[in-house]
């Protein structure tokens, strides 16, 4: 390493060589390699973080590029973390990068989090946020929260030295579809970069023991007004280590509970009454879909589910899994008598396996 790499940082009063040393020993897990994850990982990497874990099972899509500038047209269809780690290693070859080509599940969260000093939530859904909150509480790891809604953002640091957690603010996870996501609302390309940069800053403050860590405060950013507000909140005294994660967060996503493989679906697909339900957006469905699949986007599912009430069995598919997992829960509640499964790995896995096995798509 060039000895001058970090001089502008070590020269900074209030940071200095001691903080640089701390940073170089720190291990951070970034969950999500999208709009938030890219600025978080890029700056932590450039500033000299020791170990950087990246979790994401997604691939680059055209609709990501306006807000995820580590990726370009050549990378569409490729694994996000594979592409991002290449960029990061070029920018700082000294960082130890660990890749987890998966989504965070109740079944893998505790294992993946183990050994990290801090977690950064750079996800795009509430299920994973609640899972991170629960898993970090169990593992006693602080985590940096960031989220977006239209032209607004939220940032906080949870579970930091006994400080409050996400569930202290929002105890119960909202019902599916209650709070719209960026796929529905849209987002301006630069906004996740602002919130992600604030998250990177909070991560460095927490790791290097700098003052002013945003623990016990929720920061609300309004981009159009250029206003920031901080809301103070306390730890809920009843918040403590909890039941196994499998029952606390995402319902019904363990192998014994609703998942099925592409091969299992292929065995059943020609049985009369079998429905393949694709819960992706109409545009995704139009671009590529399985033969005979019915398209009802996840957000429209509840009100349209009656059209499937006579199905013998419903197999749900989405792009890579998270949405079909949610749909599975909705269908189980709405059509309790109908067997329902969700296909692990989504269309990505489905297309790969079908091609490999020469099965009908």
């Amino acid at each position: 390493m060039k000895s001058s790499r970090y001089t502008r940082q070590t020269r900074l009063e209030g940071f200095g060589p001691q903080s640089q040393e701390r940073l170089s020993r720190a291990r951070v897990l970034v969950v999500g390699a999208g709009g938030l994850g890219i600025p978080v990982a890029t700056y932590l990497n450039a500033m000299g973080i020791g170990t950087l874990g990246l979790v994401d099972g997604d691939q680059v899509e055209w609709s990501n590029l306006h807000r995820q500038p580590a990726y370009g047209p050549e990378q569409v269809g490729k694994s996000k973390i594979a592409v991002l780690s290449g960029v990061l290693q070029d920018q700082n070859p000294d960082t130890q990068i660990r890749l987890y080509d998966t989504f965070l599940h109740p079944t893998n969260a505790l294992r993946i989090l183990e050994g990290y000093d801090l977690v950064v939530d750079a996800t795009d859904n509430l299920q994973t946020r609640y899972l991170i909150d629960d898993a970090c509480l169990v593992r006693e790891i602080p985590w940096v929260y960031g989220a977006l809604h239209g032209f607004e953002g939220q940032v906080s640091v949870f579970n930091y030295r006994g400080g409050p957690t996400y569930r202290c603010l929002f105890p119960e996870m909202p019902a599916i579809g209650e709070i719209p996501d960026c796929d529905t609302l849209g987002t301006l390309g630069v906004l996740p970069a602002i919130i992600g940069s604030l998250q990177a800053l909070e991560a460095v403050k927490a790791l290097c023991d700098l003052p002013g860590v945003l623990s016990g405060h929720l920061m609300l950013y309004q981009a159009l007004e250029q206003q920031m507000q901080k809301i103070a909140f306390d730890r809920n005294p009843t918040r403590e280590g909890l039941a196994p994660l499998e029952t606390s967060s995402i319902p019904g996503c363990t192998r014994a509970d609703g998942t099925c493989s592409v091969a299992e679906y292929q065995q059943q697909r020609y049985v009369p009454g079998t429905v393949l339900l694709d819960v992706r957006e109409a545009s995704e469905f139009k671009a590529k879909s399985a033969t005979g699949a019915v398209n009802i986007p996840l957000l429209d599912l509840e009100e349209n589910l009656h059209s499937l009430k006579d199905a013998g069995a419903i197999y749900v598919i989405c792009k890579s899994g998270p949405r079909s997992r949610q749909a599975y829960t909705i269908i189980r509640e709405t059509l309790p008598g109908t067997p329902v499964y969700w296909i692990e790995g989504g269309m990505r896995q489905y297309l790969a396996v079908c091609q490999d096995q020469s099965w009908e798509v």
């Binding site: 939530d121 603010l169 019902a175 719209p180 929720l218 809301i231 909140f233």
Partner: protein, 81 residues
């Protein structure tokens, strides 16, 4: 009474801040009263299962007392990233 709205609550109400006329807000004694009042005027607020409320930049429960000069913020979870 001035009510700052964030996330989906702003989308539902359509503006932020919301200024309640003195005549209307005088009857609202607690955060719970205010929530009930707002849900009456904006029924979609009633569909939110999780909604944090801050009075003068401090998170509070439904039984917290509120007054005409207080600044209230409604803060729902936000999903995107």
């Amino acid at each position: 009474m001035k009510i700052l709205l964030f996330g989906i609550t702003r989308d539902i109400v359509g503006e932020s801040p919301l200024q309640l006329p003195r005549g209307e807000s005088a009857a609202l004694q607690t955060v719970g009263d205010l929530k009930t009042y707002l849900k009456g005027h904006y029924p979609r607020l009633g569909t939110l299962s999780s909604l944090a409320v801050a009075v003068n930049q401090k998170y509070t429960g439904d039984d917290a007392r509120i007054g005409e000069e207080d600044e209230i913020a409604l803060i729902p979870p936000v999903s995107g990233g």
